[in-house]
Amino acid sequence: MILDGKCPSGPLSEKWEKRLHEMRLVGPANKRKFTVIVVGAGLAGTSASATLAELGYKVEVFCYQDSPRRGHSISAQGGINAAKNYPNDGDSVYRLFYDTVKGGDFRSREANVYRLAAVSSNIIDQCVAQGVPFARDYAGYLENRSFGGALVSRTFYARGQTGQQLLLGAYSALCRQIKAGSVRVHPRTEMLDLVVVDGEAKGITTRNLITGEIASYAGDAVCLCSGGYSNVYCLSTNAMGSNVTATYRAFKKGAFFANPCFNQIHPTCIPVTGEHQSKLTLMSESLRNDGRVWVPGKKGDKRPPKEVPEAERDYFLERKYPSYGNLSARDVASRATKEVCDEGLGVGPGGRGVYLDFADAISRLGEEKVRERYGNLFEMYEKITAEDAYKQPMRIYPAPHYAMGGLWVDYNLQSNIPGLFVLGEANFSDHGANRLGASALMQGLADGYFIIPYTIADYLAATTPGKVKADHAEFGKSREDVDGRTRKLISLKGSKTVNELHRELGKIMWEYVGMSRSAESLRKALKLIPELRAEFWENVRVPGSGAELNQELEKAGRVADFLEFGELIAYDALHRNESCGAHFREEFQTPDGEARRDDEKFCYVAAWEFKGEGGEPELHKEPLVFETVRLATRSYK
């Protein structure tokens, strides 16, 4: 099937305006008759819930955490992009748009990205009005800093906790609606199934994580804002609970999954220390503004970093990419890091690390200035490694971080199932094959505050409110499925823990479907993952029962989905016979080791349709039409 993104026609800069005019509206008196279900309470879910409720819709919001203030957006450190051009350094909506399309290696939908850039400025204004304490200069104006993949300073920030402040801003807007009675929050509740009635998304089935109760909720539309799937690698920068379950369950109910092989490996994370490692901690990319990345020029150089003379150091990012240097795009920096470590030049335990050195910045700016900019990051690094980064360089290594892939959506953020909308990291639309720094916060809030409120009305206006109730037979069937699966997991009583099996999956994914892949490694993964999945369903041990708070059961359900989803990533990566952005196929590279894209054959979105467990999914394509941008080889040299 050829998919249509349903972008408006006309000049790029007028598309959104045109769509806004075309879309139907729901009258103020009718809005309260509609119920919208929102799954997930990160930036996208919280901002969407608050805004939809404020418009008058009844909103039911679900999250697995104990409060909607804890979604993993909270961990984003560095900042949020906006084309304000406050520093007068030549930024514009078009430039932000172009940087994002280029950063995504020309695999994103032009019209979506332009809209994102166009609303970026509104986000900053909105957040300031909510009381987000962005950094200010001495005259009281908003401060900006530069970020990877851009030559202008367009990143707004609140110390190293920008994600936290933006999420708390959205959460405060949500609190206001909760008080007004227009939103009901369901914390510690996990969505385990999507309910589709007559081809339209009309509700979800959930498990109450405290009582174990399996319940159904009916609504007129469902918004999935459940984040990304990097935990398929087991070790990632995501929160422990981040999972693919909500989107994968929707996939199994017919929603197409787009570009699952586009998964970003972030260059600046703290290296692994041992088998016990439960997650990886990211150090904001903003550190690359002032930190210089290097390794010793000679293999096996065991000298402490300070004793390696300048001439014997290899500042490999500056050497390979003179114009962007330490600020080259994430995928480029990650691969370059892996390469030098593969060559045996890496530092720290197991040689899996490179230095990120602030000595120059400290002598140029003084320790105080560096502390002001990155103090909390240095503290965090010290807590984890017991090393003082003011005195010796940090050690960093890449780690899975962000999913550019996600459920397929059209320009209105609606999936191929009518009534199912997908926002934020959970959809695929804006970042192509690689996301630039400080763009995730921008997208989550753009979707939630400024896009879904309009586009959802276009769908709802054509439906009858409350048409499907929770006593519909499909809900009963869905509850039975969820219940059956829960009972099965409990009944297995095998000998391996969920964590053990998750770690094994992570190793397969990292080794064969990781930062660089080949047809051979992917075929291997396609053999190993089903074997591991079979083992899981015979040999996993989940203690306790389903009718109580049972964290092992929660994990088991999520890992079971990852064990199917990993295969989908491998299928996607195997079919895409090109290298682009975060997807690097060893067979497709230039003589100097850069990604070689194939615009003739692969300038499309790969959207996969579920065809039964263990069966090969079916590929559908949405051709990417670039009306404005000329496809170019991405270069940070």
Partner: protein
């Protein structure tokens, strides 16, 4: 290193709990405290026992989910550190470690080390916001904010809502938590307009949720993983007095 753990076990909110002894063997110095518990739990699962339930999520010290009292101190003894960021290098071989849930009247235990913190949520719902609609707001630079005020607001806004301040307070008071939000918003020009209404609503909600009052022990600041200062409690009190005065004046004019 090898450690002896005494962990609070409680099946449900209405059950009686007790401390249970567990041995943690071959603990690496590089593990985080929660990773050490992960390893203990894996052992329990393997031996057919029930693992210890505890809250955690980001493991980066920012989501505010983790909530353990370690040797009598919420988040453990390392300053300005959540328990997920506390590393085992701060313990030594042979140590006995006591691990308990947050203890406060407003925080009923759900299971083992997990407590119900929804009382804090209800304080936020009562007024922890600026009443702004989405859209229709002025340019971000239209209202200037002095660097000093922006920094002060940020100092208060850093609160992660973990509840350690409440668990540490002998009165189980939510004063620092509430004060942080009141101060964050009242320091900014955008939040100034509703400051009086907000401080009254939030303090009233606080009193209604089973939290005790503040009697200046400052245990809250000492355990706060973000180092939120008790000066914000003074700010809350000032805001409250000011609101009371405004109310009094208004009533007199009526």
């Amino acid at each position: 290193m090898n450690l002896t753990l005494y962990i609070w076990r409680q099946k449900g909110p209405d059950e009686t709990g007790k401390m249970e002894r567990h041995d943690a063997r071959d603990v690496s110095r590089d593990m985080s405290f929660l990773e050490m518990l992960d390893v203990v739990n894996e052992g329990l699962v393997k031996n057919g026992k029930e693992p210890v339930a505890f809250d955690h999520d980001c493991r980066e010290g920012i989501c505010g989910m983790c909530s353990l009292v370690v040797n009598g101190v919420p988040h453990g003894r390392k300053e300005k550190t959540t328990v997920c960021q506390l590393h085992m290098r701060h313990f030594k071989d042979g140590d006995a470690i006591y691990i308990e849930p947050w203890r406060a009247r407003a925080f009923p235990v759900i299971k083992d080390l997990i407590v119900d913190r929804s009382a804090m949520e209800r304080i936020m719902y009562s007024g922890g916001y600026i009443s702004v609609h989405t859209g229709g707001v002025p340019d971000g630079n239209a209202v200037l904010i002095s660097k000093e005020d922006a920094e002060t607001a940020m100092d208060a806004a850093e609160c992660i809502g973990c509840g350690a301040c409440i668990a540490a307070c002998p009165n189980g008071s939510a004063m620092l938590f509430t004060a942080a939000k009141v101060s964050h918003l009242a320091t900014l020009p955008q939040g100034r307009i509703e400051a009086a209404v907000r401080v009254c609503a939030m303090t009233e909600a606080m009193a209604g949720q089973g939290f005790g009052n503040c009697s200046n022990h400052y245990e809250c600041e000492a355990v706060c993983p973000k180092g939120i200062s008790v000066k914000f409690i003074a700010k809350l009190n000032r805001e409250f007095m000011r609101a009371a005065f405004i109310k009094w004046k208004r009533e007199r004019n009526d």
